[in-house]
């Protein structure tokens, strides 16, 4: 029950957990008073957990989204698919482990699954560059998407990245071009695409696999143009506890903010206390949303999908028009 990695706002919870553990260690199970006390503590733990997670600040949300126990793409694959068939490589340069691709079934629906993977232990994290993909990762994703289109499979993407990798090789091999081409090609793929931001939605690196017909965010995920630290370092001249907090709030990066702005269509509920407390529960909620969307989208003629997808993104952005257009789209 106790989670060794503790977020500071979870400290009151850890205290109660410690109390329960201590009681259980010495208490007598047949004693009604003891049982009552444990039940009381458990209840207050649950109430507090609910309260804390209902009132997370944007910066706390970012911390939850990065929780080391938070389920990652490969965890969701295991929870969702019995017969995942991983497909490797971009056929050009290498196989980027930061983006995982393959055939799989979500519910009863055969799909092409694509997602960022950050890695769990140190070695895996290093191999995956902490979920920061290289150009070959984006190219691999696109290659598999094109194949999905060819075979009439819907595409399901899981977004969870701090951002695309900033490095010499990445630049040399065209990081910007790789992402840009994905944005362009995803907009015209004639098969349904649904995306879920399950953890971090870091900028272009996230969007590079998220130009979809429907986009959802897990309740405690974040999605923004830049990380709060990056933003704080530039606009507040320094990233520290205080400015990260301010930047996270200013960036409107929570699921609720993104829903309000029309950037995502839906917020997928997480179990009380975050997906890391009950990954299977989170996976069930994700599965339900994905299958609902795919059943709807499969009724649409594939050739009509790009046009609708275009309209979805076309309307995003807020500006004011000063005077009647001198010239414009009505021309």
């Amino acid at each position: 029950m106790a989670i060794p990695y503790t977020l500071e706002f979870e400290k009151p919870l850890v205290e109660i957990e410690a109390q329960i553990e201590a009681l259980e260690a010495e208490g007598d199970d047949k004693d009604a008073g003891f049982r009552k006390e444990v039940a009381r503590l458990r209840k207050s733990h649950q109430t507090l957990l609910k309260k804390i997670y209902a009132g997370l600040t944007p910066w706390e949300t970012v911390r939850v989204a990065r929780h080391p126990k938070r389920p990652q793409f490969r965890d969701y694959i295991k929870l969702l698919c019995k017969d995942f068939c991983e497909l490797h490589g971009d056929r050009r340069f290498s196989d980027d482990p930061a983006i995982v691709t393959g055939f799989g079934r979500v519910g009863a629906i055969k799909c092409m699954l694509i997602g960022h993977h950050k890695g769990r232990d140190t070695n895996e994290k290093l191999a995956c560059h902490f979920g920061c993909a290289h150009p070959e990762g984006y190219r691999k994703a696109l290659l598999k998407m094109k194949m999905a289109e060819k075979f009439g499979l819907p595409i399901v993407t899981f977004v969870d990245t701090p951002g695309a990798f900033p490095g010499i090789g990445a630049e040399q091999r065209g990081q910007a071009e790789a992402i840009a081409v994905n944005l362009l090609e995803m907009s015209r793929i004639e098969t349904p695409i649904v995306s879920v931001v399950v953890g971090e939605g870091g900028s272009g690196g996230a969007l590079g696999i998220a130009v979809a017909d429907r986009v959802a965010m897990l309740e405690h995920a974040w999605y923004s143009v830049i990380s709060p630290e990056g933003c704080a370092a530039i606009l507040w001249k320094e990233a520290n506890a205080e400015t990260n907090n301010l930047a996270a709030t200013a960036l409107n990066l929570t699921a609720k903010d993104n829903k309000r702005l029309g950037i995502v269509d839906e917020i997928i509920k997480e179990p009380v206390g975050g997906a890391h407390r009950d990954p299977a529960h989170a996976a069930r909620n994700i599965e339900k949303w994905i299958t609902d969307q795919l059943i709807e989208l499969e009724r649409v003629k594939p050739t009509l999908l790009p046009g609708r997808r275009y309209e979805r993104f076309r309307k995003l952005g807020e500006y004011e028009t000063l005077k009647p257009a001198r010239d414009g789209t009505g021309d």
């Binding site: 630049e171 840009a180 090609e185 923004s224 200013a250 952005g317 010239d327 789209t329």
Partner: protein, 280 residues
């Protein structure tokens, strides 16, 4: 997305200051020669001694590329709202107002129909002088409308990029402009349209990772900084010095990422030539 702003700017500028300092004479930041300002300006803002390309705003760019008097401005009636009520050390609204007052422009982009050596085209220039040419909703919308207009009228599309990336103050909405502009280019491509992307110093972040790198033909001015991540972020991440000339136009040419490096004096001719070769 890595953005370049005033903070990181000092490390990103090639060798000298962004704007040409006031005064009759100035010292070239690249070669150190004292040059007569008017001579430099008459030389399309290129150092007469060492060919250093000074950064120029959108108006000057249009003046250099378009046939005299042919530019018909379009989509110039859009202004940024402040959808997120964004405030850092200063409010976004105040920042915008200050930039508008300083530059006399509404946002960081100019677009319109032009003739380039007699060839009709749609020209869209990002404006580095306005908030580092960063892309928020207005820039994204103007670029998208320019693309759509070019598609609808079968005009060659020329976009001159210079930008620090997506504009942080509009957060997710800025990010979405990357998808929007790229999706519009997919339609332009489907319609058989020509897109010439001109990269100038600097083109990074969300602009390079969307329309700027999607040209049928991509040309860059000499020694322009072009990349996804800014050099400072890369240096911090990999903790090593970056090679000489890294992320400059010539490096991109060698890496196979762009078609040509073109001197500013030749840009107009090159654009006209490409339009001819593409039968547009």
């Amino acid at each position: 997305m890595t953005q370049i702003t005033s903070k990181t700017w000092s490390e990103l500028k090639p060798v000298g200051s962004t704007r040409v300092p006031e005064g009759l004479w100035l010292r070239c930041p690249a070669c150190g020669a004292m040059i007569y300002r008017k001579q430099m300006e008459a030389n399309q803002h290129v150092c007469p001694e060492c060919e250093h390309h000074y950064r120029i705003g959108a108006r000057e760019r249009i003046r250099q590329l378009a046939d005299d008097g042919s530019f018909e401005p379009m989509f110039d009636d859009l202004v940024s709202g402040d959808p997120l009520k964004f405030t850092d050390l200063k409010g976004y609204k105040e920042r915008l107002a200050a930039e508008q007052k300083r530059t006399g422009e509404r946002d960081g982009v100019q677009a319109g129909r032009v003739f380039v050596k007699g060839r009709p085209a749609m020209l869209c220039c990002l404006d580095l002088t306005f908030m580092m040419g960063s892309m928020g909703s207005v820039v994204g919308e103007v670029v998208t409308r320019s693309i759509e207009y070019a598609t609808a009228h079968d005009l060659p599309l020329v976009v001159v990029s210079c930008s620090g990336g997506a504009r942080m103050q509009e957060s997710g909405l800025s990010l979405m402009q990357m998808a929007k502009t790229s999706a519009a280019l997919a339609r332009h491509d489907d319609a058989g349209g020509l897109f010439i992307s001109v990269l100038t110093d600097p083109t990074t972040g969300g602009v390079s990772a969307s329309f700027a790198m999607l040209g049928d033909i991509i040309v860059a001015e000499p020694k322009a900084l072009i990349g996804f991540a800014g050099p400072r972020v890369i240096k911090q991440t990999i903790r090593q010095e970056l090679p000489e000339g890294f992320q400059r136009s010539e490096f991109l040419l060698q890496s196979g990422l762009i078609d040509r490096v073109v001197h500013r004096h030749e840009l107009r001719n090159e654009i006209a030539r490409i339009i001819d070769y593409a039968n547009k």
